[in-house]
Amino acid sequence: MKIMVVEDDAALREIYSIRIAAEGYEVVSAGDGEEALAMAVREKPNLILSDVMMPKISGFDMLDILRSTPETASIKVIMMTALSADDQRERGERLGADRYLVKSQVGIEDVVNIIHEVLGDGANQDQAANVNPAQ
């Protein structure tokens, strides 16, 4: 299983990459939406974990392009944002994000659990299900 981490902050990108690699996933990473789109076509990851607020192409625009491109349309996508506003979440869900996480509400361990849950390969699925109950 291959996971792509998209995050413009280099430190956070490294932290997420190392932590996710520790789960046995192959990890690739990109620093902005543009780089991520090129990499998504090339690397064909099973799941993309992406920040929303990024330079060049925002996470939302990236998601929109991913979903309308046949080669990348079925990749699972988890969006992370600092914004908790409902309209932002609605936008993410409308664009077809599998999960929409608010950074201040989830820690890195929650993110790891949610990745397992979305990929359906985890032992911690019950636990992860409690992290982000549907509104």
């Binding site: 902050d9 430190a11 956070l12 932290i15 997420y16 190392i18 932590r19 520790a22 789960e23 600092a82 908790s84 506003a85 409902d86 309209d87 950074k103 201040s104 820690g107 890195i108 361990e109 409690n130 109950p133 549907a134 509104q135």
Partner: protein, 405 residues
């Protein structure tokens, strides 16, 4: 009162030695920038100064003399909302002969649509005529400075959050046996550093929320909700935390008399709330209940319809709040200062944020506490009828073409 604090008295005004005490006072009232209006016991204007004429745009002193005060002095809330007559602090103070001190509101001109933020005071001076002195000071500049300060704190917190998140992230990598190998002593040090970084992260998050709520950048997204089931769902999420802390968790019944009527009958109580705000409010109050309770205690959560309000209560059997601290607990950075609380981590902003969020949804919050016995927090929110709920749900479902639920 700032009547005599003005520094910028126009220089052309000279006060010759021939002025009597009385005319000196009149001179002062003529030149100060605060509006001053004096009425009799019935609220009829007997005196007003030029600043009051300018600020209310009533035309001239002669125009206003003999009129009822409420014809020229009209106020709105700081948030530019109209007051209900029985909740209008100006009208309440004038009709009850109670003083009003430095109340921040918006003065609405009776002529144009001009609105000035003012600090309003009303002083009943008694005497045969039962005179009242109404003063209003323009606070536009103060508010602007306040909002600049808020913006600075907001930007600073936002900028600091990213590095704090990476410190926390790297420490968690160091502490995770899957990603790093460290010795036992290092583990102890890094655990403390990790906890401190998490505390700092919470502090910045709370600070950001405070600035957003303070300058109305975070406004509630109100939806119709059945509050009893929402409260239960949100507090049930804490079942594991309660167990871990050795606390007995009870939903729907209460030791407090206020709450124990009709809790056996399955009730519904609808309100119009922001679900994210409600989640934060309940999470914060339950967090507090857990933090300030010792193992073996209990936490009682309840929600019920109470006339035209929905009353949510969260009661604990914890250390309680001393009576002298109780009136201050909703202030920013106020911490009850005793040895028990100093060891309990918190940002000092939690209850302030809870209050801001409750009030943003049109609700009220208060607490009752007996030191050593426990504390109960009450959140009261406006209730809507089930017909109103159905109507709003249909509207929302139409909008969403099927809705989310």
């Amino acid at each position: 009162m700032s009547l005599f604090k003005r520094k910028n008295i126009p220089t052309e005004v000279k006060s010759p030695a021939t002025f009597s005490q009385g005319s000196l006072a009149e001179l002062a009232l003529r030149v100060i920038h605060d509006g001053v209006v004096i009425t009799d016991g019935a609220g009829v204007i007997k005196f007003l100064n030029p600043a009051a004429v300018v600020m209310t745009e009533c035309g001239s002193i002669e125009n206003a003399l003999g009129l009822d005060y409420d014809l020229i002095i009209k106020i709105e809330s700081k948030e530019k909302r109209e007051f209900l007559k029985e909740e209008n602090p100006l009208i309440v103070s004038m009709s009850s002969f109670k003083a009003l001190e430095n109340f921040e509101c918006i003065l609405v001109s009776s002529l144009s649509d001009k609105r000035i933020p003012v600090s309003l005071s009303i002083i009943p001076v008694g005497g045969a005529e039962n005179n009242r002195i109404i003063t209003f000071r323009n606070i536009e500049k103060e508010l602007k400075e306040e909002s600049e300060q808020t913006e600075f704190i907001s930007t600073a917190s936002h900028e600091m959050r990213t590095p704090v998140a990476s410190i926390e992230g790297y420490l968690s990598l160091a502490l995770n046996p899957q990603t790093a190998t460290i010795d036992e002593r290092a583990k102890g040090y890094l655990t403390s550093a990790h906890e401190a970084s998490q505390h700092l992260g919470r502090l910045f998050r709370d600070l950001l929320d405070v600035t957003k709520l303070d300058d109305n950048r975070m406004t509630p997204h109100l939806v119709p909700v059945e509050m009893i089931s929402l409260t239960k769902r949100l507090s049930d999420e804490y079942a594991a935390r309660f167990k871990e802390a050795g606390l007995n968790y009870v939903f729907g019944s209460h030791t407090n008399e206020l709450m124990n009527s009709a809790h056996q009958i399955p009730q519904v109580a609808y309100s119009f709330v922001d679900t994210d705000f409600t989640r934060e409010i309940i999470a914060n109050l339950i967090d507090n209940a857990i933090k300030y309770s010792k193992a073996g205690g209990a936490v009682y959560v309840n929600a019920k319809g109470d006339g035209d309000h929905v009353l949510v209560s969260i009661a604990d059997t914890g250390i309680g709040i001393p009576a002298k601290d109780l009136p201050h607990i909703f202030q920013k950075f106020y911490r009850a200062d005793n040895s028990d609380t100093r060891t309990i981590g918190g940002t000092g902003l939690g209850l302030y944020l809870v209050k801001q969020r409750v009030e943003a949804m049109g609700g009220k919050i208060w607490a009752e506490s007996t030191f050593g016995k426990g504390t109960t927090f009450y959140v009261s929110l406006p209730r809507i009828s089930s017909e109103e709920y159905e109507k709003r749900m249909i509207a929302i479902n139409n909008e969403n073409q099927g809705g989310q639920q």
